[in-house]
């Protein structure tokens, strides 16, 4: 992508349109190598109860911190697992203290089976956290009115799901993503969750998404480091293609090679039989 394609959210420059989760990698070494391969704009983490022993053995946190210190990536804490606005607000405040950042990936789950967000609690939490100075990036459904409500609540971007978390199904409702892009042309849209393949990430970017956030597709690949690079290439290609402008799809074939000047034209068209 051209150097002029600067990506900013809440007035801050984000180094990449591919964002990665830090969970489920086979080892801390592989996780960090995957980050190095993808150069993600954000790396997500969370927080949970830990004993003193847990903290002493938490190599992933240390390695993520080292990576962040040596790269342009930013840390994006999440409120994964919260089921109410109150819980999410409390966890976000704790995350800001722990990670020393005002960025928060706001998650409020409404259904344990599909991990679908509770959009009512989500908007409520987004409003409160925005008023407290957080940069709230909400994991949300692709409902237009919900996304508009989140923007009105102060979110500098929206993060609609492509498909339920961890399914790898890709963009299961392309119509809705197109609708969001068309109706919210100036809004930063990050497709979060459900991306399983680089082609799906590229599809999202071709459709005008500003970025994608994924975890499982890289962490659970047979070779996470190589897959991370593949996703980075796909996101770049999709972004570049979106800016290049697509041809118009048509139903009838149209020859790419000019027909004017074709020798033996009639003979070729009739299988060797002279044309009347």
């Amino acid at each position: 992508m051209a150097d002029s394609d600067v990506f900013t959210i809440a007035g801050e420059e984000i180094s990449s349109r591919l964002w990665l989760g830090s969970s489920m990698y086979p080892s801390p070494d592989i996780m960090v190598s995957a980050f190095a391969s993808a150069q993600p704009g954000f790396v997500t983490m969370s927080l949970r109860r830990q004993t003193a022993g847990d903290l002493a053995n938490n190599d992933y946190h240390e390695r993520v911190n080292q990576w962040l210190g040596a790269s342009q990536s930013r840390l994006l804490p999440n409120t994964a697992g919260c089921q109410s606005a109150k819980e999410a607000i409390q966890l976000a405040i704790l995350a800001r203290e722990l990670f020393k950042t005002s960025w928060i990936k706001l998650e409020v789950i409404g259904d344990e089976y599909s991990l679908q967000p509770n959009v009512f609690e989500l908007v409520s939490a987004a409003r409160e956290l925005s008023s407290q100075g957080f940069h709230v990036l909400p994991y949300c459904t692709d409902d237009l009115v919900v996304c508009e409500s989140l923007l009105h609540a102060g979110c500098p971007a929206i993060m609609p799901w492509g498909a339920p978390i961890g399914t790898g199904k890709g963009i299961i409702n392309p119509y809705q993503l197109r609708t969001l892009r068309a109706r919210l042309p100036d809004t930063t849209i990050i497709v979060d969750a459900g991306i399983g393949r680089p082609s799906q990430a590229m599809q999202a970017m071709e459709m005008g998404a500003d970025g994608v956030l994924l975890n499982t597709a890289v962490a659970k690949a047979a070779n996470p480091v190589t897959m991370a690079g593949a996703f980075a290439a796909a996101v770049d290609a999709g972004r570049t293609a979106y800016h290049a402008g697509f041809m118009t799809e048509r139903d009838m074939a149209s020859p790419s090679t000019p027909v004017a000047g074709m020798p033996f034209w009639h003979t070729a068209m009739r299988g060797g039989q002279p044309h009347e």
Partner: protein
């Protein structure tokens, strides 16, 4: 007797403690560490307030550290 819940588990003792004493001396979390935060009854308790905050009967304390996440 003071009974509290730390990270979902019950604890009890007889003498008075503040949060700093509980966290650092009793539970052996590393002092001067930025790798964990403390919530008292669901609200953030900044580290500078630990020494001056008495642990009261029935308190719920959570000690949170970073984990991987998506």
């Amino acid at each position: 007797m003071i009974e509290i819940i730390v990270n979902g588990k019950s604890m009890a003792w007889t003498s008075e403690k503040n949060v700093y004493t509980l966290i650092i001396d009793t539970l052996n979390y590393p002092a001067e560490s930025s790798r964990f935060v403390v919530a008292l009854n669901g609200e953030l308790l900044p580290a500078e307030q630990w020494p001056s905050t008495r642990v009261n009967n029935g308190d719920i304390i959570d000690v949170l550290g970073a984990i991987t996440g998506g």
